[in-house]
């Protein structure tokens, strides 16, 4: 086939084009023709199709995401907000932190190892592109039922991919989640988050300014992998009978990425770039159009200079390829030699592929002939915007009316004991160390806390002991019952987890995983969840710095539970003051902070014992969350508590079990006045934590809580080798340990 040049396109307006196969809608194709005043060339069509895909353009979610920019709490920590590769937050002492969570759901279902591996690779490059050194990663994961045969295919591959890539990259994996639910059977959620650290003056932005500046593509050669990968894959629903899409998944090379990181950081150190962008979804189409769109002029690219892995690739394929481990930099001419020298030092291939022009168009040439001539903004930023219809699902009222309070409760202490063991051994509540032990949590030598702690924490300055903490949480069951509250509960839990570690929550990133936006039910869930999250962030004073939306997580007509995952970033002035979850000291007093009500809707107990999902999720009181966080942070700073664990899914007994097993000590608990043992152990009321207080600090601690108006109850003491609920039952730690730790290896090893 002859080359489809701009000239040729103008001369052949009626040539048939595969817009539909590339995922464009008829009106979108018409709009492209209108923008260009002619039909697009094959290369232009390729660019628009990937950039206007749901994944890259956020066309269905944009109108709702706007709220994150409108309901912004007053917070002077924000240095760079939504819209860049990742947001940037001031953490003091001249340091800035950038962090973000992204999804790699669809590729990970098709090809678990590479899908998950390149998910890590992509988020790490996003962080790097901001000018930061990546310092840690986290992985919130969701799979189908734990005992489903396909989970045994997907999970080990995903875990091996995350480990294989992240471990080789030298980034400690410090947190995340592993959740099982049948709703994720055909749509596992593989989210990945990364934290990066830099000095304020090192922040870099994705823009191409200054005519004459060179466009340098560096990193891996471009290959045929991942053509239309993330963008097209993540923008449609899986059909059970569709053709295999495996080749659309990218293949990662973590060694190349490690070199890219070190090389890029050295380039930053010498101030050699004017703008920089990583190549992720939509590859060169995205990088060139976004850089040019955010800059002041145009850009001219000689596409045939791009180093290839496969010399037979067409220009369209080169523009769409999502080959990994590539970056694109804008470099002033006098810095080009030094830039290339540093790349050579790190054995990284670097090529000048074009330059910034004083025009307004993005122009791409192939062996001297022009194949792209577009306004970059029309590709990168002016994609379609949909106001998708949404409506409260017809089944929502019935679901909420199916109250979990009506479920049969344990009849006696023996049954209560049995249910406790069943709960802590259930796949969702069981120890995940079989999984997390496959990730390197020690590399870089700054890890202060890592899973199964409430939040991961790394030191960022070895002199001052300044540190940052990150927690990620989401509960699709809560969100299914009420998406607005569910999103706020995810936010509240993550916020609480950070505070429980002793760090002050500063800002959030989110990964919003939902079904098809073409379903009004799903769109309602999305609208409610984003509204809940935006309102919640406003009240808690934690702005949204950026994030990611993953739609079309459904198989056929069945969508996943709405699953907003929230990552909260916190800062701690001195990591010596961090609070672990372990009950390490016998004799310390256990206090329950917050109010406990009979709240079982969406609870782990209702799932494990009754396989039930109905009613309303726990109530949210964000003012209370704020107060609880302040108490946890003050108590940590002033040495009043030695351990803290947030209470969430599984309730008090889950938290106490984890803290006891981690510390190797038992606990004697007394049911507080006004509560029955069942509610005490299993309720999932929000805004609560359990803390271990040294006896010498008891008065000071309770005085502080009293003065600030936080309800506290002394519930027991760290003691012995069993967990005893006085007057009810006791379970030896060894029995709890076996129950808690045997489940996951038995299912997966």
């Amino acid at each position: 086939m002859s080359l489809d040049t701009v000239k040729h396109a103008a001369e052949t307006p009626d040539a048939a084009q595969p817009w539909k196969e590339l995922g464009l809608k008829e009106d979108e194709y018409a709009r492209i023709r209108e923008i260009l005043g002619r039909r697009p060339t094959g290369a232009e069509l390729a660019m628009y199709s990937v950039m206007w895909s749901e994944h890259c353009s956020y066309k269905s979610s944009k109108v709702h995401l706007k709220q994150f920019g409108e309901k912004v709490p007053e917070n002077d920590a924000m240095l760079v907000g939504i819209g860049e590769n990742a947001g940037v937050v001031d953490v003091g002492q001249g340091y800035a932190v950038t962090f973000k969570v992204e999804s790699h759901n669809h590729p990970s279902y098709i090809e678990p190892y590479q899908g998950a591996a390149t998910g890590i690779g992509g988020i790490v490059r996003d962080i790097l592109a901001m000018g930061a050194r990546p310092v840690a990663v986290v992985d919130p994961l969701r799979f189908g039922a734990a005992d489903h045969p396909d989970t045994k295919r997907v999970l080990p591959g995903v875990v091996a991919g995350i480990g294989g890539y992240g471990n080789c990259l030298g980034l400690p994996n410090i947190g995340g989640e592993v959740v099982f639910d049948a709703c994720y059977q055909g749509n596992p959620l593989v989210n990945a988050g990364c934290i990066g650290v830099m000095k304020h003056e090192d922040i870099h932005l994705a823009q191409a300014s200054g005519p004459g500046n060179k466009v340098i593509l560096y990193g891996a050669r471009t290959g045929g992998d991942g053509i239309g990968g993330v963008s097209v894959l993540a923008s449609e629903t899986f059909e059970s009978t569709g053709p295999a899409k495996r080749p659309a998944v990218q293949v990662g090379d973590p060694f190349q990425e490690k070199l890219l990181i070190e090389c890029t950081l050295e380039i930053f150190k010498e101030n050699l770039v004017a703008g920089i962008q990583d190549l992720g979804g939509a590859g060169l189409s995205c990088a060139t159009s976004e850089l040019a769109s955010a800059g002041s002029g145009g850009m001219r690219v000689e596409l045939d200079t791009v180093p290839l892995r496969d010399s037979s690739l067409s220009p369209e394929e080169i523009l769409m390829s999502e080959s990994q481990e590539r970056m694109c930099a804008i470099v002033e001419p006098q810095h080009v030699d030094r830039f290339l020298e540093i790349c050579e030092k790190w054995d990284v291939i670097a090529t000048v592929i074009g330059e910034v022009t004083d025009g307004s168009q993005l122009e791409i040439f192939w062996h001297g002939e022009q194949i792209v001539d577009v306004p970059p903004r029309s590709v990168a930023h002016d994609g379609p915007v949909y106001h998708r219809p949404f409506a409260r699902p017809s089944w929502q009222d019935a679901l909420q009316a199916d109250d979990a309070g009506k479920l049969a409760r344990p009849a006696d202490a023996a049954e209560l004991r049995e249910q406790v063991l069943k709960l802590v051994a259930s796949p969702n509540q069981a120890s995940k160390s079989w999984i997390t032990d496959q990730y390197d949590r020690f590399v870089q030598g700054n890890t202060v806390l890592a899973m199964p702690e409430d939040a991961g924490m790394v030191r960022i300055d070895a002199e001052s002991n300044l540190g940052v903490a990150l927690a990620t949480d989401g509960n699709g069951r809560y969100a299914k019952l009420d998406p607005y509250t569910g999103a706020q509960l995810a936010l509240a839990e993550s916020y609480r987890n950070v505070a429980a570690s002793g760090a002050k929550p500063l800002a959030i990133s989110d990964c919003l995983n939902f079904g098809s936006p073409e379903d009004p039910d799903v769109m309602w869930q999305f609208a409610e969840a984003t509204r809940g999250l935006a309102d919640g962030c406003l009240e808690l004073g934690t702005p949204v710095t950026g994030g990611n939306v993953s739609l079309y997580n459904q198989t056929g007509e069945t969508a996943i539970h709405p699953t907003p995952v929230v990552a909260v970033l916190g800062v701690i002035d001195d990591v010596n003051r961090r609070t672990p979850v372990a009950f390490a000291q016998e004799g310390q007093l256990l206090y329950l902070l917050g109010d406990t009500a009979e709240e079982f809707g969406g609870s782990a107990w209702s799932e494990v014992v009754h396989n039930h999902l109905g009613g309303l999720p726990p109530k949210v009181d964000l003012a209370r969350e704020k107060l609880l966080a302040e108490i946890l942070i003050s108590a940590s700073r002033d040495g009043m508590i030695d351990a803290a664990h947030d209470l969430s899914d599984g309730g008090l007994i889950q938290a106490v079990t984890e803290s006891c097993l981690r510390g190797g000590n038992g606990a004697r608990l007394v049911v507080p006045d006004g509560l029955d043992a069942f509610t005490f152990l299993f309720s999932e009321s929000a805004g609560r934590a359990v803390v271990a207080v040294p006896r010498s600090e008891e008065l000071r601690f309770t005085d502080m809580c009293g003065a600030r108006g936080l309800p506290v109850a002394r519930i027991g003491v760290v003691d012995g080798e069993e967990i005893e609920i006085q007057g009810e039952f006791s379970i030896p730690l060894s029995e709890l340990r076996t129950a808690h730790e045997a489940t996951i290896p038995a299912l997966l090893a």
């Binding site: 480990g163 390197d440 590399v443 030598g445």
Partner: protein, 226 residues
Amino acid sequence: MTTRIGVVTFPGTLDDQDALRAVRIAGAEPVSLWHRDKDLHQVDAVVLAGGFSYGDYLRAGAISRFSPVMETLIEQARAGMPVLGICNGFQILTEAHLLPGAMLRNNHLHFICRDQKLRVENAETAWTSDYSAGQEISVPLKNMDGRYTADERTLDELEAEGRVAFRYLDGNPNGSLRDIAGITNAAGNIVGLMPHPEHAVEPLIGTGRTDGLGFFTSIIKKLVNA
């Protein structure tokens, strides 16, 4: 004069910064060495740090072993310069035939990261003199290819000559023959092990123990007293 201890960075080395930090905390001057540079910059000892040099492609350590820096290092190590190989560094030392044996894929086929208990079997090497023979320590272990293997004759020889420097306790994490976690050459200047002492030098970081610091204080004392 301060003791200068070099840490080599190969492409894909990951724990070089940690090793440099451990050297500094122990009281010596850390010196970064680059794989392409044959010059060892007058260091008194060298640490080959952990990581995935060259992505573990071909075989862990197989490519790094041919780096320019290794030419000088192999020569100097044979002449008695102390060298410590940690994890990937250990793999490089075996590839370079400075230590016998090889590391295979873990017998359970997974990467494993955990706090690992070890027994110091030989407290007379350049890197272990601050420990006592039989002492039990805990340091992080993290690797994919950590299963130490060698032929029976070599293993018997290592045992007979007291060259098994460390053994795994409380469960062999990867199927290493005779629970071997680390070994030394006959002269005691070259030591290699899979676990990571450089990750256990600060009370707050990692596992919260400082059991690994002894490697670095051992070598400093030896060099200062030399």
